[in-house]
Amino acid sequence: MDDTTRLTSEQSIKLFIQRDYSEGTAVKFQERFPSELEGKIDRGKFIDIIRHINSIFEEAEALSCKTFTENCCACLTGYLLLLCMPTHYEKCVKRAARYISEENERTLNPKGIFMLDPMEKGLRCIEVCITNNRR
């Protein structure tokens, strides 16, 4: 992850997949295919990756009994419980990060694409770096 940021710009292009706020303030990224990626990766595959990330965050933000119980218990212990165990949201964020690094290794890096964890950007956008190295 660190190596990509040291690339000079002659070799790389950075694009940013922004948030999709059309359904509210829930975390959802635009499921679009940037034209800079034409020819590098299959359109459907890329949008699938974004869709999967969106589904993980949708699960993180869902109002469920589990979240309710977790928050009630945390409140009753004076929020000391939050110091001991990660919340459901944090677990989902970790899962998304793991998924992105797997997809990087599996599909994207071999094609010269690198996707950054959106949490690094404060969940504002997904940064995608494309290297132009010709081997």
Partner: protein
Amino acid sequence: MSQYVESRHRVFCYGRCITGQNHSIFCLALLLITVTSSLFFVFDCPYLTKELSPLIPVFAAILFLSVICCILRTACTDPGILPRATPDELLYLERTDNTQTVALSGRIMELQMRSGHVLQLKFCQTCRLFRPPRVSHCSLCNACIANFDHHCPWVGNCVGLRNYRYFYLFLFSLSLLCTYIFVFNIVNIVLRSQNNSTVADAIRETPATMAEALICFFSIWSIIGLWSYHTYLICRSVTTNEDIKDTWATPHRGGNQINPFSRGNGLVNCFATLCGPLPPSFLNLRAIVKQENSIPMTVTGTNNNNNNTSDGIVRYFPEENGNYSNQVGNTSGIHSTQQQRYLPRDYA
């Protein structure tokens, strides 16, 4: 370990606490609460325990601890500060916008929501991003805060997405504590005046009780008033900022007047705000940031501008086919101005 936060927030405990800049009123609030409660424990509780029940100081202690816990939690939690955009993002925004005639700072992005509302997202010059819905820039803290409610000087921090529920619980527990102390002050005076002869004698016996009663009496109105106001806001799912600006009252063109962020039912709104899921802090406060030297920026390549208006409004609509057309020519000449290196985020 050095921490670098671009807003006016202060970071403590190696990134575990983040507070606003000015702490004086917060210290005053803490002092007032602690002094009043201490006076209660020292002067009223012994007599009341003897006369009535030993449970009285126990409940008072529980309330006092929850007030302190909530105020510290509100003051030290990141309210939802949005990290500022990197120069790369800015460059990309400039490139991909259709209108090149208006500078980025003057632009407004129109957002068409599926519910029919049309929101206008303004560009924040300090944070260098288009403010997402419900995000507002706090000039005191100099940062954009998610679900910005207000900047509370009593807690020395902004109240936003991530600490609103602690703020609400603080108001609730403080209302209870104030009422509790006030009621038992009155009970104390009444009991003493029954045992002695006059109220004046009773007051002379415990002057501290009168002092506490006065403090509580004057604070109760504002605290309970504020708590009721926030209960009302929570049921409507409206922030203080939106209520003051009357955001959902005036009709927008193309939309209706109902708040698009309300879930329709007051109870569900309460549940969502107070017990809903919370994201972790957007700032990676425990990482080491190293800034490398900046390279001057030059943009080459022509931007083919088709269509669109030159009134500075960028329109974004959710697209069915997911296709996005990029108007930019070649990108080979673009240099990045600044690179920041972050350690991989520690989720523990």
